[in-house]
Amino acid sequence: MTSAAPFDVERIRKDFPILSRELPGGRPLVYLDSGNSSQKPTLVIETMREHLAQHYGNVGRALHALGSESTEAYEGARDKIAAFIGAPSRDEVIFTKNASESINLVAYAFGNPINTDERFKVGPGDEIVISEMEHHSNIVPWQLLAQRTGATLRWFPVTDEGRLDIEGLNELVTERTKIVSIVHQSNVLGTVNSESPILARVREVGALMMLDASQSVPHQAVDVAELGVDFVAFTGHKMVGPSGIGVLWGRRELLDAMPPFLGGGEMIEAVWMDHSTYAPVPHKFEAGTPPIVEAVGLGAAVDYLTSVGMEEIKQHEKELTGYALDALQEVNGLRIIGPRTVVARGGTVSFTMEGIHPHDVGQILDDVYGIAVRVGHHCARPLHLRFGIPATTRASFYLYNTTAEIDALVRGLHHVQKVFG
């Protein structure tokens, strides 16, 4: 990909066919739900169509021409993703189905009797540390690990402003800690967490650290080597790629030490009736026919994002976020849950409205104005409990959103207040 052209949101919108469709009743679509799942550019759609139409075969095992073209495209996507996230080695990029699977893959490496590596041994007295702002996908796998092993699950609290509270870092992360897994950018608050102070403590006590980067990799340049953590999980569908494909990046030496997660085809070296030896990474963790076309689509997504420029995308979203924070705070009775400034914060803005339930907000916005937002607890129920609220309305922005769409949101909210006021 060549160097990025100047950022022109109208030009970018033309790359996403769905953005010009009309909803029933002639409503234009105002898509403010990219934190949930992003829309797809023509490049991704066409690359996937082209692969299915011209190159499709199974990967890694078919010796014919299609098999080798498919394998080349699938492994080529791995190269692209490795470059996109600054992975020191392409073999450290493991394709999964989504970020949840990536996190589960790591969680199941711990406390597994066939894993004799000291760092992955977990039992009673050991501790796992997460935070109160996690998505359920970075809570439940660790709860299950604690239940399997008798280990204790602990967590960082969240401040009233929606920041990670690391005041108790040294008491929370100790010699008993085996792994710390926290979100890079919150899917509710928009908060971008700084991993470095936590990582320093993690290294001091000899634990491992994982980042759930599902909401950061799509929106800012993420360099895994620079981050310095041990594992990073993210998903394709939030970064203009297809659903059904996720990524786990892990340090080679750790991935080598971990046992397989799922057993099956293509993850083996040799199989006897009573035992097997396993393929080297990444294939050790890719049992069965993988989501081939989805991986190829994710490769195209990465090409697309690179051609626009991650710095440009980040800057555009920062402008949108600042605009939205100002405009929303003008709405009476609206309370933003999360930082009210653009500092260390992404383009996800969640809020409550005095006396009006988010489901009612979302229904009117959608039905009257064609505005798609997400309502509910956004798979982060503990965070909502922490703020003493059952649900929020969430607007989340991406490279194709405009300030005019934020104006439409604000107009919509005023109308919602008229209906329920």
Partner: protein
């Protein structure tokens, strides 16, 4: 503007001024129901008298206008009626809600609850409307156990 037709005046009225809200003593059974997809919840108590008379339906909860208004309407319809009568209303209401907007409501049976007819066109909101009604059915079973 299909949704605005879902938000009938009567629903908004019950949402803004819920009838019979608040948990009361005495009661025969108490149940707590939640809608895990959206976090709506209701706690419901029923007190029965002689001859299957429903003496009180009291409730508390949180959620959207549809779920809260449905609880309020249920309170009005069930209190003072009988177990038998109120269950036939619950059945008709359930039939209406699960009818995907294709079912003609029996207004004689449903009374004010007919205002929820528009909700049936929104599959995501049907559970909101049914939350309190299913809790009521559950509470009746438990109070007769």
């Amino acid at each position: 503007m299909i949704a605005e037709s879902m938000y009938q005046e009567l629903i908004l009225e019950h949402y803004k001024h819920p009838q019979g809200r608040g948990l009361r003593e005495p009661y025969d059974a108490e149940v707590h129901h939640v809608n895990p997809t959206c976090g709506d919840e209701v706690t419901m108590r029923v007190k029965l008298g002689d001859g299957g008379k429903v003496l009180d339906v009291s409730y508390d909860g949180q959620g959207c206008s549809i779920s809260q208004a449905a609880a309020s309407v249920l309170h009005e319809l069930a209190t003072g009626s009988t177990v038998h009568e109120s269950l036939s209303v619950v059945d008709e209401f359930t039939r209406l809600m699960q009818g995907r907007g294709q079912v003609e409501a029996d207004e004689d049976v449903l009374g004010d609850a007919v205002a929820f007819a528009g909700v049936a066109k929104f599959p995501a909101r049907v559970k909101c409307a049914l939350l309190a009604w299913m809790a009521y059915k559950d509470a009746l079973v438990r109070s007769q156990a």
